[in-house]
Amino acid sequence: MKTINLIKIAWKALQRNKTRAFLTMLGIIIGVASVIAMMAIGEGSKQSIRNQISSMGSNMLSIMPGSDFRGGVRRDNSESQSLTLTDLKALQTKSATISYISPQVNGGGQAIFGSNNWPTSIYGVGENYTDIRKLEIASGVMFTENDTKMAAKVAVIGQTIVENLFGDGTDPVGQTIRFDRIPFKIIGVLKEKGTNTFGQDQDDIILAPYTTVQKRILASEHLRSIVASAKSEEIADEAVEELSDILRVSHKLKANDEDDFHVRSQQELISTFSSTTAILTILLVVIASISLVVGGIGIMNIMYVSVTERTREIGLRMAIGGRGVDILMQFLVEAILISVTGGLIGVLLGIGSTLGVSTYLRWPTSVTSESIIISFLVCAITGIFFGWYPARKAASLDPIVALRYE
């Protein structure tokens, strides 16, 4: 029998039992809709994490002191004092893969201007820091190499600081604030950056020359970390290698010594976070798949009922020339039609609920064509898989017995 006729016959059979067909589809509909919605939510959060990390500078590299494990005990990196200005010099002079590099030290404290005060952090960095972190100056200027050399008491502040210390509308540029009793002259204000994925306010920041922060506030020579920019995103991995090699030499590590620092690219950070969301997505998809399987069993059940109900029809079709394969295909197409129609409704429902989630809950979502194609294929396969046994039962009936069936 021609495929088009098989589809027509199957469609008519479903039309005759609309309610039953719909109830059978329900499992598939719910399964597919949840797969689509969950994958959309998973994909959406993955993309928003990726975007936010990239907005920090997609070719940024960070170098942290300490190794992940030592004697099986993970140590707090901030305790580690393995990064020094000597390392910075070595990296600056030897690296060919980076365009900017800046040390970073930081300390917490109270920022005070007039009668306003605000608990915040001061970041001691190099003059290239804004280039590396993709920070932009809204007004004023960034401090210069000269300021760093002179350990000048100048600062560039973020919008949160502006709001809290200069709430009355005073132009911060040119004013002097105090941090830990040290006066800093404000020479620039950063553009607003918002909250990052980890819930950190990126505008609650004071930038000052690292020399100043080291000397006046921390009274320490050690660096909290070093950040750098690879010349391009493509060579970020290569840069990680190169910086590691330089640091190993600088730290005089032997061949089988573990690194006492780590160099990370943003790509790695992205993949770390992607993998957590990926695990979550897999979990959700597994749950959704279970409902697909349950839906499939529903199809199988109803197809068995259908084969029994239509035993005489099967006998007749065989008597007038239907081959086993024709009967098999008839019931298989019917099962596939149930599952694929259910899948189609499920896709629409999934997209609809995804829209609902992003509109009302303001969650980032992204319906991918892959998830639609995959759910659709899975539906068709579910139909074939669970329709196969009932269809084979139909095809293997003896026409004489089937014709006599009451």
């Binding site: 007749l316 065989m318 008597a319 007038i320 086993g324 014709l403």
Partner: protein, 248 residues
């Protein structure tokens, strides 16, 4: 011109039920030539349906030779048998076996769906012609539940002739119908026979057998009689003689 459509030799059919063997057919021989209208008679359990199922290629004999339209049926694959049924045989059942909630036209089209060489246009035309031939030109869109028993059997007959088979096989085709309707159906069979159709018709009603031109009688798995009918009744005439029920 004397073309043999059906030839069976020493056909036996045994059913194994547990340890017991039921011998339904114990060696049957006969031939049917083109244009014959044969009734197969016999008491209940004599093997009529078993024989007809074998003739219809729905069942295979335990032993013996069966040739349908010069094709040896033995050793054919299931698919080859299905093709044979589709192209050479028209089946009519006691209980009509129409698809419910399916129009008369679609029911009649059904055998042609299983023949890939027939286009959808041709299929519809042939089904319409078959329905006209059985007198249901104005009932094509009716479903079985909207038709009387006699009309349903006419649809079944149309379905049996739509593929232009070499033989029409009917198993108690009038078994569910009253006398008048039975005669109407027999008139239709006689009409088809006069158009050259070969018919093998199982019945246990002697008056029905008189409408055919040859009667084979089975008893206990044996053929005990095979005679031409001397005075063939004309069904159309017999209908006239029936008392008119409305006046009773």
């Amino acid at each position: 011109m004397d073309k043999t459509i059906i030839k069976i030799e020493e056909i036996k059919r045994e059913f194994l039920i547990g340890n017991e063997t039921v011998r339904a057919l114990k060696g049957i021989n006969f031939s049917i030539t083109q244009g014959e209208f044969v009734t197969i008679m016999g008491t209940s359990g004599s093997g009529k349906s078993t024989l007809l199922n074998i003739l219809g290629c729905l069942d295979q004999p335990t032993s013996g030779i069966y040739e349908l339209d010069k094709v040896a049926v033995k050793n054919l694959s299931k698919n080859a048998l299905a093709k044979l049924r589709n192209e050479k045989i028209g089946f009519i059942f006691q209980s009509y076996n129409l698809l419910p909630r399916t129009t008369a036209l679609e029911n009649v089209e059904l055998p042609l769906y299983y023949n890939k060489t027939v286009s959808s246009k041709e299929r519809k035309e042939r089904a319409e012609n078959a329905l006209s031939l059985v007198g249901l030109a104005d009932r094509m869109d009716h479903t079985p539940s909207q038709l009387s028993g006699g009309q349903q059997q006419r649809v079944a007959i149309a379905r049996a002739i739509v593929n232009d088979p070499v033989v029409i096989l009917a198993d108690e085709a009038t078994g569910n119908l009253d006398t008048r309707t039975s005669y109407e159906i027999m008139a239709l069979f006689q009409d088809l026979n006069s158009r050259g159709k070969t018919i093998a018709f199982v019945t246990h009603e002697p008056d029905i057998a008189l409408f055919s031109n040859r009667t084979i009688v089975l008893r206990d798995g044996h053929k005990i009689k095979d005679n031409p009918v001397d005075n063939i009744n004309i069904a159309a005439e017999a209908l006239q003689k029936l008392p008119i029920e409305e006046e009773l």
